[in-house]
Symmetry: C2
Subunit: 644 residues, 2 copies
């Protein structure tokens, strides 16, 4: 029996080069200090992946991690994390996915898996409780994710096997290839699928028959029920039913357009006039055909879509989510939702991030418009704004690295570098990650979030919008010393550094537990007191009964992930944004005329974190305060420690 | 509040000719005497569909009926019945289906619907609680069942609408067209879809928000839980899990082959040597990709299949069930399961019975083999045994009534009549219904069942096999006066008339309640004492607390359905079998050398029912004993009553 509740108690280390597999006890101090998921991933990556490692070499490692919450009856608990050195950004790589793969790994008896080395020929890792084996995957190589999953289940003789696998995009080392589990759930960003591909690891298949125990069962069940009720019968239940359960994340299409931050025309604008054609109601009405849910979820934001008529009739998939719809409609001026549905399906079966692939295509369209590239570069394709057919053609070319697709498969940062001619003006990335569906110009805190995010331009390491939009009055409680009107003003930079830092730490805990952010963010929102209580009753770690200690946990993880990047060369200059956000005023919509004024927000953020304004490096005390003095020691040797 | 528990309390009468819709209270005496489903269907058809009615004319009526059990928490309770004068058999037509359509109709507030007349142009009936309307279906005409269902849900703005609809086969009046609800569940036999088509009724869409109350809630819940446990945790649970939940009805492929009654080569044989290629394990291993379940079921025999590779890759559907696999593999000597998977999908989307369509194709193959038809008759197709491609081509030709398919769309009885040349020797039907997946030669009681079944050659109006195979010792309890070894001997005709009559009455109750037969038959089996208790605690009708009264109910329904046929001209001569079963000894397998010796079984059956041996007509006392003296009166006027 493991000391802490919610854990399976063991982990796997799989060396693909030698074929060695070791089962070890999950280190208590790792759990105590980092909880799980993103947290233990940060510590393991810090410990084991050193500067100078090529992300696609055998020396890189990839960690598949659950958290103590994964697979428990806490309603949104079906998630797992993948952490590695990213081949897309060359820095911190992390992606999460829902479904049932994560719970199954826990039931098999493992909290996480460390995968290292490189197999000689394609393999997949099969885990059935105590049976752990590497199996030949030659027959699976080249197969799309649905087909590969089917074939693995068939070979193992059990359709209830949970499979996480890569598709052709991962095999072809598309830099933003993803891992697909449970057929449709994607660990999407930072190219984790390419790391699998580089290691010739086609898939992980898991079947587990064990169980999990919380430390304080009665309290944990009580709190889980309370959480379930918050979503299913509490004061917000009706609202959640009418929004999340009816529209899922696609509800954000309309909401984000309404506040002027729906990326439009390669992030040129934040307002899309044709929203009615591509908004959530159009999706629900014309494409949604069934409900779905991740493991044990009370919200059930997932759905199945089907293209009913025309050339792509009968294309069926889970989703698409907001980010996919944004990427393949407004952001490339495509007003036909069929394109987003088909792109979603293609990206799922090829195993490719929809955000980065869509952004790469939008980048190419803008380069084409500006005359930087022409038909001779694009295999004769006319890359016109709004041409969905050409976008779908490019999706396949990217996944297969055919012709011009081979260039776009590198991501916009690298593609712009190779194209030159000022094309980087249209490569909308931050720290090499293509921008997701936000825009800091009309939502200032999102600007800061992009700039300081360890994995680049995305919204999932800090997002304050629920407070800012006034869904809760938590902003007031959290920042009583500040004027709530200013705190909640989307267009005001003031106090945003404090909020973003606080939220980043919350999300770090969330990503370590692992709780679904859509589940815990949506009103009624969860805050420090909830997490402290949850961690305490679940794990039995007494420290986290204390809110301040729980905050320190979030800060520790936030710091350590950044330090991983700092050690690789990250510094103040990385805490920046693409000029589109800082220099080009928003052309229309509620954010019209706005740019991101990063400096004041960044100052506040640095102040909270204890980073040096000139270098972006931490002070020793800021790291020691959260218990990672050893990290300070190592950075000091590299001259990457600021003076206290 | 309706007097009896389990009922919605209202029914609908929809006249498609005038567009009139009436909501009426469900007659108490109808419920009291006939319970629901097949029972009330029998009374309504007797009362309202008179001799001389053309099944495809506006004068025919079609009844969509639930039972008191439908939509309750009793585990297998997701079914509804469709009853009409059959265009395939010209006699009693009845088909049932699972899914969630039936429960939804109850929740909307209706126990059944009587549909009469004929619409001028295609319509669909939309029911949302008290809103009942006929809507234009011109845009749906010609659409397959999946597409039509999608479009109706889209038009109504709610994917949770439950839709029962017809496909092109029903529109084209294919005589064995079916009704498909919940995308994949088929009310399959006797051409109920053609009746919809003849009335220009494309679909019924239902959404209900009401509830149901049993008369004695505590007792009902207790008994339902007990039933749930019989399937999920009782002594049979493990067995059910390893059979029904793992293989569904396809487990019958192997089981039926093992006892020598798996129809092979158009019912020529009962043993298929290539069973391993088409048996349940092959289906599970190569095609099953997900679990499914009808409304609230504890068995969950349903599954989703997908063709993973080859020409038909990505063909996905629910099922196929045993009967479909039999019809499209062994019975046409096709050893490639892909054909059954594809045929299942095609029959689902076209809305066509898989048993009758498969049998029609097998009939054509045998006629072709015997030189009765040749390429000049078949649009150039070579109809060779085992040619799955040609079978799939024929499925489409039948549904669309193209060329030779137009003839096969009439069913084998009519096709043989038109072809002549002794082709009726290969038209394996009984009373014009194509034989399903049984063979009386190696399972004698099944021979009698086919012969006396009011809807023709099928197994769902009486099936004793669970007892006969010794899964229970109920046979001994039920027939203590007879030698159990003989009762349970599949190849012995003795006592089978008594067993079949008893089981027919049980199934009549089952089909009126409506309970899923697969649910209540599978060990541990339900008998009279269970039904009596169930009906009593559910409805509160005190009569049925009494077992004898419950038996009388089953007999009443059995009698009345037959009397409906008698009034149409049915007589002793109809209680017969195709010569293949009575004159051609089984060529191989456990039943080798056997034929059905019908006479002794029929004599016993007549004895129980009180039918005259010469005419097959009932005596007055046999009808009066079960409370349908008025039926005797009417038959007497027609000279169709035997002397007591």
């Amino acid at each position: 029996m493991y000391k802490y509740g919610g854990y399976a108690g063991k982990y796997l280390r799989v060396d693909l080069s030698s074929g060695n597999i070791r089962v070890e006890e999950t280190p208590l101090e790792l759990v105590h200090e980092y909880l799980g998921g993103s947290g233990i991933g940060a510590r393991l990556l810090w410990n084991e992946v050193k500067p100078g490692t090529d992300p696609l070499s055998p020396q890189n490692k990839i960690i598949i991690a659950t958290g103590p919450l994964t697979g428990t009856l806490f309603p949104p608990s079906g998630r797992y994390a993948v952490i590695s050195l990213s081949p897309l950004t060359d820095h911190w790589g992390e992606a999460h996915a829902g479904g049932a793969f994560g719970p199954e790994l826990k039931y098999a008896g493992y909290d996480y898996i460390i995968i290292e080395g490189k197999a000689e020929k394609p393999v997949y890792l099969n885990i059935e409780d105590n049976l752990i084996e590497l199996r030949d995957a030659s027959h699976l190589w080249g197969k799309n994710t649905i087909h590969a999953t089917d074939l693995i289940c068939e070979q193992l003789g059990d359709i209830d096997v949970k499979v996480a696998c890569i598709g052709p995009a991962g095999e072809n080392l598309v830099k933003y290839a993803c891992i697909i589990n449970d057929y449709y759930r994607a660990a999407g960003r930072t190219g984790m699928g390419a790391v699998f591909g580089s290691k010739k690891l086609k898939a992980i298949a898991v079947r587990g028959s064990g169980g999990l125990k919380p430390a304080l069962p009665e309290e944990f069940i009580k709190f889980s029920q309370e959480c379930f009720e918050r979503h299913s019968s509490g004061e917000w239940a009706d609202y959640i039913k009418k929004t999340s359960r009816t529209y899922g994340t696609t509800g954000l299409m309309d909401a984000m357009n309404a506040i002027g931050r729906l990326p439009t025309k390669n992030h040129y604008d934040g307002y899309y006039p044709e929203i009615d054609k591509v908004g959530s109601e159009a999706i629900r009405k014309h494409f949604r055909v069934d409900h779905k849910s991740c493991f044990g979820c009370a919200i059930q934001c997932k759905y199945i879509s089907r293209i009913k008529e025309g050339k792509y009739a009968n294309t069926q998939s889970e989703g698409p989510e907001y980010e996919t719809v944004m990427a393949y409609t407004s952001n490339m001026l495509v007003s036909d939702l069929t394109v987003a549905m088909r792109a979603n399906y293609l990206c799922n079966i090829y195993g490719m991030d929809t955000i980065s692939s869509g952004a790469s295509i939008a980048f190419a369209m803008e380069c084409y418009e500006k005359g930087i590239i022409n038909k001779s570069d694009t295999d004769g394709l006319e890359l016109k704004w709004g041409d969905g057919e050409v976008a779908l053609k490019l999706v396949e070319m990217i996944a297969n690295r055919e012709g011009f697709g081979d260039l776009l498969a590198e991501g916009v940062y690298e593609a712009a570098k190779r194209i030159g001619k000022g094309s980087d003006s249209y490569a909308i990335e931050v720290n090499r990650l293509e921008a997701s569906g936000q825009d800091g110009r009309s939502h200032k805190s999102a600007g800061l979030t992009y700039a300081i995010n360890v994995r680049g331009a995305d919204h999932l390491r800090s997002l304050c919008i629920i407070d800012e939009l006034g869904f809760t009055n938590k902003a007031k409680e959290r920042f009583p010393q500040y004027d709530t009107d200013i705190v909640c003003d989307l267009l005001n930079e003031r106090y945003k550094g404090y909020m973003v830092a606080d939220q980043e730490a919350i999300f770090a805990v969330c990503d370590s537990l692992i709780a679904c952010k859509y589940g815990v963010m949506w009103p009624p929102i969860y805050y420090w007191e909830d997490y402290a209580h949850l961690i305490h009753v679940l794990t039995g770690i007494d420290d986290y009964a204390d809110i301040e200690e729980t905050k320190r946990l979030g800060e520790r993880i936030s710091h350590l992930r950044r330090m991983f990047n700092i050690r690789l060369g990250w510094s103040k200059k990385n805490d920046s944004l693409h000029p589109r956000f800082t220099k080009e005023p928003m052309p229309s919509g509620p954010g019209k005329g706005q740019v991101v004024n990063l400096e004041p927000m960044l100052k506040e953020y640095y102040e909270v974190r204890g980073y040096d304004w000139k270098t972006g490096y931490p002070t020793r005390s800021s790291l020691e305060r959260v218990g990672i003095g050893d990290v300070a020691d190592e950075l000091e040797k590299m001259n990457k420690l600021a003076k206290d």
